[in-house]
């Protein structure tokens, strides 16, 4: 089936739904690299005109990647909830945009609709939306999850404390952990990217974090971001695994390049649930995604970068995760060239994830060979804060010394909470108060550090 429109006195024709979606995407280097981008600005807008007239139901009838060869397509179509889809079943993509922006599409309606939406539908409508549209709609969606803290409540913003170290040195990790806690960070998760995936190294870090969490009764969860098979192995040996982590992508072959199958994730999910380590909830999975990973793995099947990213969210939602974040600018400028492209991708990913029912957070970040700087971080952070992101990732000074990229800092999170009146997760906020870190206005008290009881974390391990 082909799609056509007339613009600027020219007839534009797009041979497949995948070609149409790709041509309708905002300019980004990854789609150009894949040979999928619109050939001109006029062709891009012509594609949007044609896309606006496509019925939403067509995405159920015309899979972008064949059902027979891709288990993510099978997952999307087999779990589609027809009853939930009913309120929008008769709409085109263009009409769907207007419905989403209307007052009738409130938090309740959007939550009820989520199981009826597919990644392709939300990706399609996002291509017709401006940045402000993406903020306005995502802001209405609330996805609440819990383990030892509750994530995603209105008026709250959680943070991942990321105390990475290039050699996983326990004292170095502890020093960065202390720094983050004293700045009020860590209610989403205390999460380390280990330098190696060796089970011994991962277990040592898990025990270090578990020891601190228990000793100071911190209402949060830890995660050492290793491969899912390492977590399964460690859980069977009694290691203190709170959340099972995995990087995921939107096609079966891209997931295979990560060494992941849906079956492996099913097993890990069951094993983590059985540990019953949560106190206020039982969301036990943590997923990371990011535009460009399928292309990088040569596994995009001719589907544009953003649509294939949205398909990863179908994988995530199968496991009721506590946290999902797009690592939005991590891969590099061959996928998202500059601050403008990274911002757009961040808003798209957050919007699509939220509409599909996920607790979306972000690693707002860039590499130093992208055309971006700390002002881009501030812009993204502010827009995503307004859009109601569940959490953001924070690193000391915004500089990750293990992964060599720039992210938001603990200070950035303080800024966002201050200007938007956002507070930490309720359990964590009470804990901060109990250790004297909350000031009378609900902000984080500037502590002298040396006198604070938490500094024992750093002192003992650095000794």
């Amino acid at each position: 089936m082909s799609y056509t429109s007339v613009l600027g006195g020219r007839h534009h024709r797009f041979d497949t739904l995948a070609r149409l979606l790709a041509a309708a995407s905002p300019e980004r280097s990854g789609d150009r690299l894949a040979g999928l981008a619109a050939a001109s600005e006029q062709e891009r807008v012509a594609a949007r005109w044609a896309l606006a007239d496509v019925p939403l139901a067509e995405f159920l009838a015309e899979p972008l990647i064949p059902y027979e060869t891709d288990d993510v397509t099978r997952l999307i179509l087999d779990t589609h909830d027809t009853a939930a889809f009913a309120p929008v079943a008769g709409l085109t993509v263009g009409e769907f945009r207007e419905w989403l922006l209307s007052p009738g599409a409130d938090a309740g309606a959007l939550a009820a609709l989520a199981p009826g939406l597919t990644p392709e539908m939300v990706a399609a409508v996002s291509k017709l939306m401006g940045n402000a549209d993406l903020v306005a709609v995502a802001r209405k969606v609330r996805v609440v999850t819990a383990f030892r803290s509750t994530i995603g409540l209105p008026g709250r913003l959680a943070t991942r404390l990321q105390p990475n170290h290039p050699t996983d040195d326990p004292a170095g990790v502890a020093a960065a952990l202390l720094d983050g806690l004293l700045l009020g960070s860590g209610d989403a998760v205390i999460g380390i990217n280990p330098a190696t995936d060796s089970p011994k190294a991962v277990r040592d870090l898990l025990e270090l974090l578990d020891g601190v969490i228990q000793r100071y009764a911190i209402p949060t969860q830890s995660c050492v971001l290793c491969h899912v098979t390492t977590s399964v192995d460690l859980m069977s040996r009694g290691a203190p695994v709170d959340l099972v982590f995995q990087s995921i992508a939107g096609t079966q072959t891209a997931n295979a390049s990560f060494g992941v199958t849906l079956g492996l994730l099913d097993d890990a999910y069951e094993a983590a649930l059985a540990l019953e380590r949560g106190t206020v909830g039982h969301n036990v999975m943590y997923f990371e995604t990011g535009q460009g990973s399928a292309l990088s793995a040569g596994a995009h099947h001719g589907v544009d970068q953003q649509t294939v990213e949205a398909r990863a969210y179908a994988v995530a939602r199968r496991y009721d995760p506590l946290l999902v974040n797009t690592v939005v600018g991590f891969i590099g400028p061959e996928y998202l060239y500059d601050g403008r492209q990274i911002l757009r991708a961040a808003l798209e990913d957050h919007f699509c994830g939220k509409l599909l029912g996920l607790p979306m957070g972000l690693d707002i970040c860039y590499t130093n060979h992208a055309d971006a700087d700390d002002d881009d971080i501030a812009t993204m952070l502010t827009m995503l804060g307004v859009a109601g992101a569940s959490f953001v990732i924070c690193t000391p000074g915004g500089d990750d010394i293990m992964l060599n990229y720039q992210s938001a800092s603990y200070h950035d999170a303080l800024y966002l909470r201050e200007v938007l009146g956002l507070r930490p997760a309720p359990e964590f906020e009470s804990w901060l108060d109990s250790i004297g870190l909350l000031d009378e206005k609900g902000g984080i008290r500037e502590t002298t550090g040396a006198a604070h009881p938490l500094t024992a974390i750093g002192k003992e391990l650095a000794a």
């Binding site: 004292a171 000074g397 200070h411 909470r417 040396a450």
Partner: protein
């Protein structure tokens, strides 16, 4: 400084000895103190400049005094294209391919700007000299100085020159704590488009005095090259049997 501030700075200065992470920075309201904000910008500027500084083959040719060199470009016409099109950075400019001297070369060194010209300007000539000095009986091709080049451009070069193996010295992606880090990739009988990263051996973080030294890198490279010639391969099956990299 107040007594409390002194205690605080003592705590953080002792903790900072255990990590390069930017911890204990203090606050100006919710934001960073001015000094730390400017320090971060300075580090970022160094990383950015490393990415965008023009490649100066003359600098490297001068450092190689006496060793013949030949200059090539990739198919990426400029830095903007290079950053967005890794595929073009992996292919020789067709005109340059014709100028490469073919011969019975045992190995060719390719110095590629990669993501940090600064890294190759500062370190590449010394690594080539020190390594070549350990390969006395080898027929070494002229050193190829390649602009807007990624690692796999070396595959194209080796094939065009008929070299049995290629060593690509390339400027690594700059982090904020290291903007001048050099990587070395060794590949035996590469085939453009077929050879993958799994077929290469890599040394990274060549960056004295904080990273790997020139003699350390040269020892390892010459050792790997000798083993590669004996075994007729590189990649996962070729292990570095010299001492482990320093912590």
């Amino acid at each position: 400084m107040s007594e409390v501030a002194v205690q605080t700075s003592e705590l953080w200065s002792s903790l900072r000895q255990r990590t390069q992470a930017r911890i204990g920075l203090g606050r100006a309201g919710s934001a960073l103190p001015t000094r730390h904000r400017l320090e971060l910008q300075a580090a970022h500027a160094a990383a950015r400049d490393a990415v965008h500084s023009p490649f100066e083959p003359d600098v490297i040719a001068a450092g190689l005094a006496g060793t013949p060199t030949v200059r090539v470009r990739s198919s990426a016409p400029d830095r903007l294209t290079y950053l967005q099109r890794p595929d073009l950075g992996r292919r020789l400019d067709p005109l340059d391919r014709a100028h490469l001297p073919a011969g019975e070369w045992d190995a060719v060194f390719v110095v590629a700007d990669g993501l940090s010209s600064r890294a190759v300007h500062e370190h590449a000539a010394a690594v080539v000299r020190e390594t070549a000095a350990r390969l006395e009986d080898w027929r070494l091709a002229p050193v190829v100085l390649a602009e807007q080049a990624r690692v796999a451009l070396g595959d194209d070069v080796a094939q065009a020159m008929g070299a049995a193996m290629v060593v690509v010295l390339v400027g690594e992606r700059p982090g904020m704590s290291a903007a001048d880090s050099l990587g070395a990739y060794l590949t035996y009988r590469p085939t453009p488009g077929v050879t993958t990263d799994a077929d290469r051996n890599c040394l990274s973080n060549i960056r004295p005095p904080l990273g790997l030294s020139y003699t350390g890198a040269a020892e390892k490279l010459a050792g790997l090259m000798t083993r590669a010639r004996e075994l007729g391969l590189t990649g996962v099956a070729l292990k570095d049997e010299t001492d482990a990299l320093p912590g």
